[in-house]
């Protein structure tokens, strides 16, 4: 799985819009996601984040604008694990490989490899999803996406329903995978802190119709970020008038605004 040279593939969205009937949920979305970067789309519920991700994943037909996906392989993780209840954890992880026509022995070996990195032992792999704890199920779901060695990983509120400890662990595993094999990651979340912790760029969406209101860049490596940094940046973002308006918060306290630049954030 060695990637020779620089991967120049990218995901390019230009003027993407979508409407359910007469209700416009997305309009004029532009986005450029190069390989090896993690971009987060944050916004309140109902701002069209999930619709946007479904458009990128090809789960919805594109109505407006263009999406150019230069990545060869993409994989998805959803908010719910969405495992097949009649298949063992191992077979669930190997599902995407089976879809690619990888023979049984090879796909099981790859799935087992991936699972081991995630702390899933043979006992857990032999079990059916409903015998596993919620945390185990999430690990299986992430392993199912990552075993495909995707160039583009789409995360749809993938960590929202997990407790803090489990979130931290899955963040670590995601970033470790990202370090091992650079891939583009597009994640959507309503958790500003999660976006600030993981992403190189945070795009804040505003609702009705869903659009990108503003964006921020953080150029340091996500794996190096300390908790204190993450808190300071999140607080900095929450001082921003556009961000507050997007989430429907009251106008900011006009005291000395916290300079986001001082904690490493740049407005795009």
């Amino acid at each position: 799985m060695a990637h020779a040279g620089v991967n120049t593939a990218a995901l390019e969205l230009a003027g993407v819009g979508h409407a359910y009937g007469a209700r416009t949920v997305l309009s004029g979305i532009d986005l450029h996601l190069p390989a090896g970067r993690i971009h987060a789309l944050v916004g309140p519920s109902g701002c069209g984040k999930t619709t946007l991700l479904h458009l990128v994943a090809g789960l919805l037909p594109l109505q407006d604008g263009t999406i150019r996906n230069g990545f060869a392989r993409s994989a998805c993780m959803f908010q719910q694990p969405r495992l097949l209840p009649w298949k063992s954890a191992l077979d669930n992880i190997a599902l995407g490989l089976k879809a690619r026509g990888v023979p049984r022995a090879a796909r099981h070996a790859q799935a087992r490899d991936q699972a081991r990195r995630f702390g899933l032992d043979d006992t857990a792999l032999a079990q059916y999803p409903q015998q596993l704890s919620g945390g185990m199920q999430s690990r299986v779901a992430l392993a199912r996406a990552l075993v495909l060695a995707p160039d583009l990983l789409l995360l749809d509120e993938a960590f929202s329903a997990l407790d803090v400890g489990l979130k931290a662990e899955l963040y670590r595993q995601l970033l470790a995978e990202q370090a091992r094999r650079p891939m583009g990651v597009l994640m959507i979340t309503h958790d500003l802190m999660e976006a600030v912790r993981l992403a190189h760029a945070v795009w804040v969406m505003a609702p009705a119709p869903g659009r990108i209101a503003t964006g921020f860049r953080f150029d340091d490596a996500p794996a190096q970020r300390t908790d204190a940094q993450v808190y300071a940046r999140t607080a900095g973002l929450l001082e921003d008038a556009t961000v507050r308006a997007s989430f429907g918060l009251d106008a900011p306290a006009p005291a000395a605004p916290l300079a986001l630049a001082a904690v490493g954030g740049l407005r795009c």
Partner: protein, 263 residues
Amino acid sequence: MIGVVRTWLRGLPAYLWGGWGAIASLLLLLAGWEFASQWLDPLALPDPRTVLATLHGLLTDGNAWSELAITGRRALSGFALSLGIGSALGMLAGLSMTASMMARPWVTVLVGTPPIGWLVLAMLWFGASDGTPMFTVFVACFPPIFIGAMQGVRTLDGQLREMAQAFALPPLQRLFDLYLPHVLSYLFPAWITALGVSWKVVVMAELLATADGVGAALAVTRSQLDTAGSLAWIVAVVGALLAVEYLLLEPVKREVERWRTLA
């Protein structure tokens, strides 16, 4: 396939052992029958030992086996036809909202038409051939199987379907890994119901329409006022149904649905 047969054989002793409760309750029913027969005229209700002796006689002189085989062939071929066509059409109908809405009244008509009505039609169309009982069985078994298959497809979790699309599962894999396991949990109970229906209907059809098979034999015992003979045939048919259902279908169902019970 060999694996399935092996697990079936391996699970059989424990499964049979678990059947003691059922056997005990059947024996209780037999005792009740014997008790009732002491008070009734043997022409109305012969005691079970006479009936079982008659059945034993029928089985040892060889007649019963051939009649049972004929009846079984008709019931099973009608059932198999229904199983294939009903499952396939039901699943197809489940895929489309319009098709399921259109199919529902048709199925209601099918369910509402009494089997005896179909039998009369079948006698007009197929005469005294095997086609009459087979067709009647087919029509009687079709609705539950069709409904089961349609419900199975319609109730499939939309999130799983989306997941399958996101992971680009090819059509065949989607069928075997996603649709069939889910649909089978609806189909199996429907198949078992239909199998019971097929046995009942085939005997009725034979009674009125054919010259051989268990139904025809029942017609003969009836005309000779041979209650013990009639009951012997009934016991034979019920026994055959129980054997097929509990020795074949039920263990297969347990194996296929193992994931469900382990939660």
